[in-house]
Structures are given as C-alpha cells and as structure tokens.
Symmetry: D2
Subunit: 263 residues, 4 copies
C-alpha cells in the first residue's frame, strides 16, 4: 500500500508535484487519505529522465518527510518525465534495492499493491524472468520481480501487451496458489518518452489511481495532489492509461484474456 | 511530541514493554492516541542498565516499526531499568545524536516536549551547561541541552531539585523570549538505580504521563501500553514521580518557585 | 573479502574480541593485513546466543568503525557463543539483509569469500534451497543462498556433512559455469551449542583462518586479533574445525569427494 | 583529514570529476595517497549550483564508494560550480548535518582539516557566530562553526578578508588554548558565481591543495585526480586562490596579520 505520482510533459522541477502541493506526495507519506495504510514510511524513491537514455534514481530507506536530500533534489532537478514513490512495505525489508522506482536500461517502473501471498508464488514469478534480466534483480520485492518479468515479456515491443500478458500469468498463479490474498497492481512504466500506467485487481478492490491533464502535460497519482478534485479523473479498474509524447492521453481497457482471468 | 516508556523493577526482557503489548511503544510509533503527532517516525532509541554503571544505548534514525535490530535487541536484552523512546521531531534533524535517550556517565535522560521557541533561547540554555559537560553535547536538540543543564545544576546530589531548578530557569527564559510557544517537559531521568520522571508545562497543556505499579516493579509511559486502563494512573502536571530501588513509588508536587514560574 | 571472528566458551562480553584487542575486528575493518581488500566498510553484523534458542542479530550498513551502537552492544552483551563480521562486498548491494551473520531458527552462519561468478550460477544455487527455507531468503547475497542450501542439505543432522556436500555441489556448478573466478569459502556455522568453521577453495588460494584455544574457550578469526601470533594456529585448506561444547577442538579434513571436486 | 574537489567553469556533469577519473574523489575515499587517513568513509556530500541562487545539497553518512545514489546524481546533475567532499572524522559523529558541504543562503563551504583541540575552543568559536546565523547551526562540527563565523565576519562584502580575519582569530584562540594540536584549514567557499579556496596551517604542515586550469575552467582538489601531475599546480601555504567568473585564476598571499599570527 504505497503512494506514487508520475509526470510527463514540459520539463519542470520535481518539487512542483513531489513536495509543494497541499496534498503532495510527501504529505501523503504521513497522511494518505485513500489507502489502508495511512503512513508510507518504509522508504521512498525518485526516478527522472534528463539528458541520458537511462533514468537517474534516488532511493532511501528513511521516511520521505524528514529527508533533507529529497527536498534539495526536488528543487534542483528538472525533468520532462519523472516518478516519485513513498513505500509502505507489505513484508519485504526496508532496503534501498527494495524501494521504487526500479530501472533497467531506459525502462523505469513503480508499483502500488501486492502479488497475492508472495511467499507462495515467489519462485514461479522469479522463473518468469529471463536470465538476461535476472542479474538485475538486486532486491527481493514482488514489484521488482514483476517489472523484470514484464521486460522479459516484450515491453520493448509493446509495453501494454507485455504488462497485460504478465498480469494474466500472475492472476493464474495467484489463483492456483489457493490464497485469498489479492493481486493488486497499480503501476507506472516508462521508456523515457512515453508514460504508461495500469490499474488492475484480482480478489478485492483496486487501489486508486487518478490523472490530471493540462495542455501537453499529464500527472498521474494514487491520490489527487490538491483540492481541485474536479480536475482529477479516476482510471477505471482493468484499464491502462497511455501518455505518449505529443499525443493526447488514451484510456485502454485491458484485453479480454486479462479481464477474463480477473473475473 | 514523542512517546516513551521507562521501567524499573525485576530484570525483564525489553520486549515485555517495547514490542509485545497491544499498544506497545512500537505500535505507538505508528498510531499514538493521546498526542498531536500520531506518527513518531523520526528516529528512536533504547537505553538500559546491565552489569555496568553506565547504560547501553541503541539509537537509530529509521522508524522503530521497521527496524529488525530493535526487535532482536528487545528480545535478547534484559535489564532492571530501561528507557525506550520514539521520536517526532520538533525541528532538529533526524540524526542518531539527536535521538533519545541521552547518556552521560551513569546518568540517562529522555524527553517528550519542547522548550518554547528553541531558536530564541538556544544560546541561553546552552550557556547553562558547565564546560565539563559541554564536550558531551554531540547533538543539537533542546532535550540534550536541558539534560546537560540538569546535570550541571547538581543532579548528582539531588536530581529532583536540579530538574526543578532548571525548569524554573527555562520557564523564565521562555517567558522573557516573548514567545507563545509552550515549554513542555515530560521526561525521565535515572542514575541506574533510581528512576525519576517529571510532568510539567508552561504555556498550554502538559503532555500525558502514566504509571503502573505491580509489586516492586513500575513502568511509566506516555500512553497506557494495554487496555487495562484502570491500572494506569496519570501523573498530575507539575509533579515528579520518584521510584527508588526498594521503595514504593512517590508522587511529589513541584516546589513553589517552579509552580509560581509556571503560573 | 570480509573479516570475521567466532567465539565459543565461557560467557564474556563481546567487546573482549570485537572492539578491545590491538588488532580487533573493528581495527581490521579499516586496516586488514591478510586480505586483498584492506577496507571492510560495506556493512557489518553481530550475532549472539543468550537465553533463547535462536540468536540475536545486529546488522548495519554503516562501517563498523564509526558505529556508536556497536560499541555499546559489544560492551553490554555477554554470550557463550557469538559471531562478528565486517563486510567488503563482492558486488551485491550494501543492505542490512545482505550483511552477515544470517540466522534461521537456531542456526547462524557467516562467510568470507565468493561463489565463483555469482551471476552465472545464482539461479542454480537458489534452486538448491528447499521451499521451506526459500521464504527466509530476504537478501540477495551468494552467502545467504549457500547458508539456506546447507540447511536444506541436512545441517540439522550433520552440519559438517551438509556443508561439505553443498561445497561439492557448488564446486561442480562453478566448474561447469566455465568461469575462472574462485569459489572461496571460509565460513562459520552454529546451532547455539557447537561451533563449526570451514576453510575451502576451488580455483586459487584459500582465505586465511586461524583459531586460538584457551581452556574451554576457543576463538576463530580471519586474522589473529593480537600480536601473540604463536598462540594462533592456522586452519589448513579443505578442513573443518569443530568446537563442540565440552569437548576439545577437532580439525577434520574434508571428505574425499569434496577434495576431489576441488582438485 | 578529508578529501575534496571544487569546480567552476562551463556546465558539466559532476561525474566528470567525482566518479570518472582514475584517481577520482570516490577512489580517494578508499585510497587517498597524500593524507594521514587513507580511508575517507565517514560520510560524504555534494553541493551544486543550477538554476537557483542557493545550492543543492546531497549528503549521506554511508561511504561514498558504495552509494548508488551518488553515482546516479553525479551522472545526471550538471553544474557550472560544484563541490564534492569525502569525510574522515576528527571526532564529531557521522551524521548528515556534520557532512560537508555546508550551505547558507547562496553561500557554500567545505573544509579539510581541524581547528586545534576542538573541545578546548568550541564555545569561543561558536561565540563568533552572530545570532542571525546561529540558528543555521544544525550540526556540531568545527567546520560548520567556522563557516558561520566567516559569514558573520562579512563574507558577503569580501569573502577573502572575512576568511583571513576569522583564521587570525582562530589562530589566536588555538594559541591561547595551550594545545599543540594544529589548526589546519584547506577549504573552499562560493557564492554561486565565484570560487575561493584557502590553504593555511598553524602548528604543523598544511594539508595539500592543487588546482588545474583549462581555458575558462578550473578544478581544485586535495589530490590530483589523474596521472597528469604536471598540469596540477600546488597552492602554497597561507595563500588564497580566487577563481572569479570570467577572470583568470589568481593566487593571493594571506595578509600580514594572518601570516604573523601563524608564525
């Protein structure tokens, strides 16, 4: 049960969304409103693209609210596409490699949710990761494993299809494991140019996800960052939201097989 | 606005009060009930006496709730007199030297509260610290400065008088500084044999303090640690509570000058 | 290339070996003499048995030499059997779960060395871990994986045989992976009563290991802790050293199959 | 005994000097060549100017060599004027507020050295800090206190004079304290446009300081960052080096009173 934001648009300082708004991500780290866990103090992370193909990362195990470095970086780093994430652990340890976002080459990923009873299906999910990507597994979270599985499923060619395929496989694994624990997947993915987000659930209710457009800019967030709630549109469950550079935001229902698997 | 517990009695494992009870200190670090700040995630500390005159300390900047070391230490360390503290900063940075408890020789101290507008009187309070103790100031909190001032005021001879005298001086400093910020002082002090605690305020309401006796054992806490609230007695404001080894707990009103200063 | 010590004998304070001697483990963390990496600043750990079947652990990512908590704990914790380890990473991140020692139930383990080219055989080694133990894999090191593999190979019944069998398998994996990177394994294992250590290598020279006996007490260390080098006996390569409670220390050559595999 | 670099010139990525060169600052954190302490593992910091009057800061207590965040930031942050520092503590704790560089408004400062026996003159040095700057003292190092004293001595009007005046006062304080401990001051100061560095000692030998010019760019460092030692010129003791924007680098001997005080 984490909170995150993702931005794509004109280059801006990260503070614009991470630290400055009334209900900024930092504020949400102490007092989230639409989550089971109101405190997200088990580490945090920033990821941003600027001048290189691969993203920059800053991840720390301390709570976001007391990190002086975070305020400095959000004020001094500008980017056209960035992620920020505050973590409430579902069981894995609070270490930097377990903090989101995760990066591999030019791809970046972050996740809010859980993958069923992780102890039951961890090995099967890790087996989805091709050898070429397994050496990048430096942490132990379900989220990182799913990211590498998505890359292995062909994100380079079609990130939405690779994600939906992986979710269909995960759903089947959770179902077969016999648990009643949910598969909750509210996540963002990017290659540095385009921004993709997903809202999906199997067993239970989907974690919240909103987006707000303004001209060529779009920001996506677990919870609205300000009190102008009319501007924030919810993403329906079992939908992807695609924000390609230079194109209007597009909502896409998941393909039939993923939806079926989720029924 | 922190939370703390202090114990004196038969040697027990620290987990008995720090991690095990329903509303344990660790639980209070995430969901304090009787405090303005419900999250106490700006570091924590343990201090305990066992086999040496001076106490052992374990202090960390991470939140108490996710610290694996803390659970191990609370399970494996036994003591007849120990302190535990979870911190919600009132402005000073989250560093280990700013975490409670503080120790000097055989003395140990921890504090919940604030000393007026610290930026206005910091230099005056630091000037109360004798040179011999000033080299032990390794952090920047108001709490550590007050501890060293109390030692300088003669804690070795009469810890209650030294504390009350220091509070009278602090009250006068806060008053003269012109602030409306409160002086809140709910604190514990020990020499390894006897346990002293204090509840005091100038400008506003006093932070809560309770104690529970059982035979020769006494535990003091910012909030009751369990649901048997009838066993937990509140300490009245402007009172010290003295738990000497081998003697029943004694409540003492502050001397007139301290009370007058607080009016 | 880490440094470690292990002690079994009369209960003593950990400081006796960890922080006090002239060439203590803390000193070795800054200036190791018999290692390729003279600085061991990538985290450290303590593990000790006292009053419970399972050991207590204290692990931190900061260097041992500047950790105030470590000095306090070494002074205040007494144990009849304890481990201490300073880490120089061979590639995996500096996180607490990647710091030694590792514990599972009443078993504790620490390691100095490397397991060939870890990226080539990681999956195969992880496959050695039975499901029942895999959920305890909270880090990503080769060392933790090997520990859980040893437990899975029957350490409960015969810890020396389980370790030698696992080393034979690892040797075969490293050989088949085609790497010239060594398998270096200088490690300690305990169930809380008995202490076992191992010195083994495939491809290259074995990391150093010494022991010193005094009455019923034995201390094992990567490097002698003091200048009385005559009292420190080296453990030969391909040997286990067994220090059972109440029995003299015993050196055992590895069984033929492990030695053959290592030729 | 720390190591640092400072750069002013055309905007470049920080990695150009901090992480990439053969004898980069990160390399020096493990294997400094011209220092008493060859390991600088007691925290580190970056400070850079980019788009704001005040600098950005990133400071951490972990060693620089294992910090993944540091590598990301050095790769993704570009600046026309930046500082980087690896710390070997002379006694104060390893906390973020004790790590260099220090910032106040648009001013930034870092230091390699020590101020005599700090415990003897700490109060006198802190008394040099005007009230307006004292509230910015968030750590406990000698270095931070000297920085705030320099600001109080008029750095805004004449940073070289303010530094030399402060050094004259410090020299007198050290002399009167009766210690034989040296006052070593090899430091850098900037307002975001101009870069000033100083090499000074009282009692003993001055810490090393070099600079290398190339066109409009200048880099200053405790030790040469590469093997082209001919390009690195040493700064003589009791000299300031002034690198104003758009002007050639200028070496200035300290004024007579400072030199006299140092004799």
């Amino acid at each position: 049960m984490c909170r995150w934001i993702a931005y794509r648009g004109e280059p801006i300082a990260l503070e614009h969304y991470v630290t400055a708004p009334k209900h900024s991500l930092i504020e949400q780290s102490q007092r989230a409103l639409e989550a089971v866990a109101s405190v997200n103090g088990d580490g945090f992370g920033l990821g941003w693209y600027a001048g290189h193909d691969e993203p920059g990362l800053y991840r720390e195990v301390r709570p976001a609210w007391s990190d002086e470095n975070l305020r400095h970086l959000c004020r001094h780093i500008r980017s056209h596409l960035f992620f920020a994430h505050v973590r409430a652990s579902t069981g894995t340890p609070t270490t930097r490699p377990n903090c989101h976002p995760f990066a591999h080459g030019r791809w970046m990923f972050m996740h809010n949710g859980q993958i069923g009873d992780w102890s039951l299906i961890r090995r099967k999910v890790e087996a989805l990761i091709p050898d070429a990507f397994y050496k990048s597994r430096v942490g132990t979270t379900d989220s990182e494993a799913v990211f590498l599985a998505i890359l292995g499923a062909g994100a380079e060619d079609d990130p939405v299809a690779a994600t939906c395929d992986t979710l269909a496989r995960l759903t089947e694994m959770v179902r077969q494991s016999g648990t009643r624990e949910p598969l909750r997947f509210t996540a963002a993915l990017s290659d540095g140019q385009n921004l993709y987000a997903f809202r999906y659930v199997h067993n239970g209710s989907a974690n919240t996800l909103y987006y707000r457009e303004g001209g060529a800019n779009v920001v996506m967030a677990s919870e609205p960052l300000d009190t102008e709630r009319d501007y924030w549109k919810p993403v329906p469950p079992a939908h992807a939201i695609v924000a390609r550079a230079g194109q209007p935001v597009e909502l896409r229902p998941f393909p039939q097989d993923a939806r079926l698997a989720a029924e």
